[in-house]
């Protein structure tokens, strides 16, 4: 293990005089990292292909859902920062009805990734957006990787990524990871969101029900007071109202507070517990 690839993709320079930021795939390598990036998405959207394109690792990819059963991790370097990429199991939702969903949700919530990339199948946008909305409930720092653009083209679909970004309020990067297209732009978007240069403002689902809205509002107020800085207060409130036992426990035990205070590195063991 511990292999360093010298495979460097050049990115379009913002201006000629600036140093050109480059993607360096680091594979699996022990060491420090500056940012944690989670990779979420429905099954069979090419998540592993995106993972391989970023890290230079060669996870087996195959055209069938549920192939990635373990959480894979890898590193890459871009613009003098090291990113630790965590490939989550492919899921349709984050309601934690199965082990896969729980792993994915716990990581996005308790692992506090600096950026969560949601890989989306451009040919099945409608169904894939469901997960995007759920991720956007938990975190603001979302980048949508609109993958399989080549296939959308083959199917005669024209997907307007700019319009999608506007509708969602988060960066959307069109890619065809199988042929490495768009990966450079994806890395750049990840870096911008991770460093805070760009702060996405997700357009969350409006709560139409007045009673529900009030209830959420009250809980959010209390949650914000009890856990200042909690990024996902509305989501936690909704989960509490839905009777989610895992989240109820996290509130009760103060795990949620640890989460807010926690340093990035110290949150990682939580994950291992969550997995076991």
């Amino acid at each position: 293990m511990g292999r360093t690839t010298e495979n460097i993709h050049e990115l379009p320079a913002a201006c000629r005089s600036c140093p050109v930021p480059q993607l360096t795939q680091l594979g699996i390598k022990a060491g420090k990292w500056d940012y944690i990036v989670a990779l979420a998405g429905n099954p069979n959207t090419g998540k592993s292909t995106v993972f391989n394109a970023l890290t230079g690792l060669r996870q087996h990819t195959g055209n069938w859902p549920g192939k990635t059963v373990t959480r894979a991790e890898g590193l890459f370097r871009y613009d003098e920062k090291t990113f630790r990429l965590v490939d989550l199991p492919g899921t349709y939702s984050l309601l934690a009805t199965s082990e896969d969903e729980e792993i994915a949700r716990d990581f996005i919530l308790f692992g506090q990734p600096d950026v969560t990339v949601v890989v989306v199948d451009a040919t099945r946008l409608e169904r894939n957006l469901n997960l995007v909305f759920q991720v956007m409930e938990i975190t603001d720092r979302v980048v949508v990787c609109l993958n399989l653009m080549d296939e959308a083209e083959r199917h005669g679909l024209d997907v307007n990524h700019r319009a999608l970004a506007r509708e969602l309020g988060v960066p959307v990067v069109p890619t065809s990871a199988r042929s490495n297209e768009g990966i450079a732009d994806l890395v750049q978007a990840i870096e911008e969101v991770a460093s805070g240069e760009r702060s996405p403002r997700p357009n969350r689902i409006a709560i139409d029900d007045a009673k529900l809205g009030q209830a959420v509002g009250r809980l959010v107020e209390q949650l914000a007071a009890a856990f200042p800085g909690l990024p996902s207060a509305r989501w936690v409130a909704l989960r509490l109202l839905d009777g989610d036992t895992r989240i109820t426990k996290a509130v009760q035990t103060g795990e949620l507070r640890d989460l807010v205070n926690a340093q990035r590195i110290s949150t990682l063991p939580t994950l291992e517990v969550a997995r076991a």
Partner: protein
Amino acid sequence: MSEEAVNPQKIIADAKALREEVGDFHDGFVESVYTQAAHIADEVVARPGEQHHFDFDRSLDRVLTSRTWGFPVMILLLGIVLWLTISGANIPSGWLATLLLDWVYNGLHSIMAALSAPLWLSGFLVDGVYLALAWVVSVMLPPMAIFFPLFTLLEDFGYLPRIAFNLDRAFAKAGAHGKQALTMTMGFGCNAAGVVATRVIDSPRERLIAIITNNFSLCNGRWPTQILIATIFIGALVPVTWSATASMLAVLFVAVLGVFVTFAASWGLSRTLLKGETSTFSLELPPYRPPRILQTLYTSVIDRTLIVLWRAAVMAAPAGAIIWLLGNVHIGGVSLAAHLVGFLNPLGWFIGLNGVILVAYIVAIPANEIVIPTVLMLTMMLGGAAGAQAGVMVDAGTHETASVLVGIGGWTLLTGINLMLFSLLHNPCSTTIMTIYQETKSLKWTIVAVALPLVLGFVTTATIAWVARALGLA
């Protein structure tokens, strides 16, 4: 401080009270997510090209997953892959055998002679280690180099989930999880990988069933054995023009039999040791994707062919050394190998095999890939002085292998058929056994997973041997 102002317990209590007030909003909220998603998708996606490709996918699925055509097409596709492998592997196999077992082998002996190396050393290195390696490469490389890329192309195309879809109903009837169809398909590549893949199954009960029965999927290490033995014993029963087809049908039969055994064993387990409910799950049929031919060739050669070959070679070298030692260390004037084979012969005869095959299966516990090379080397060694000399190994293509097995080993059609069945039904390789232990963390289930196929194998082959002999066929 302000954090203490609101007690988490109070939040929970409030939430509980509010929950009753608000009622069940879950479905409504989920619905508004869907509505919003549909709205956005509608805004963002234009379909200037119209969707004739979707129609292509759909009409293809109508055939590939139809109740009537799903199974026939599945078997036909597997048949085509096997036929291409069998008819395509023969010629390169012969070339490799001539090169490695004739030229290089004799060359190495000449070099050893020129260096005036002691006979035991050249025997150990050339007749033991090298020969085993050469057999593995010449017997296994050609079928793997054809089979794996074809299989990977089907995988890349998106056919595997369709197989799972077709088999889901059958698995449910057997009391097992539908996703077992996927892990079973993985097992056709490598059982250890198939066992790891059972992590996609959430229910521990159904997962255990999937783990224990995975060994009934013929793996990489066993396909070449099936193909070679079918070619020699089944292919020879019919005129030459039809021999590839007949061999293909025989291998296909064994593979499909393995699937049936999987169902039967799952059914049996879910009614005895592992009783419980069957879970439901939803399986998405991914779009068909045009396979990337070059990349598929590359990855299947690197990831599958070379890795399997490497594993076989790593195992074969020490196995070759052990076999040579077994053949050349004598106790009471008889070699160790002869002792062992003589000891196992009665049992071997009983199940329609022979002592050599059983010794080979013991030597080959680390890797199924080396069964045939081990059988060949032992047969030659014990087949008398002439067999142990270099001459017989010369130019050992399929025909020569046949003449070794039939001529020296005294194999019959019964031996061939039972070897194919025993290859399907016997203990998993040591890697798979270790993986099963790691995944189940249970000695008990590991033992069940090892014993079940072994018992089935003994019973099946013994029954066939008994019937064949009773009918005077063998």
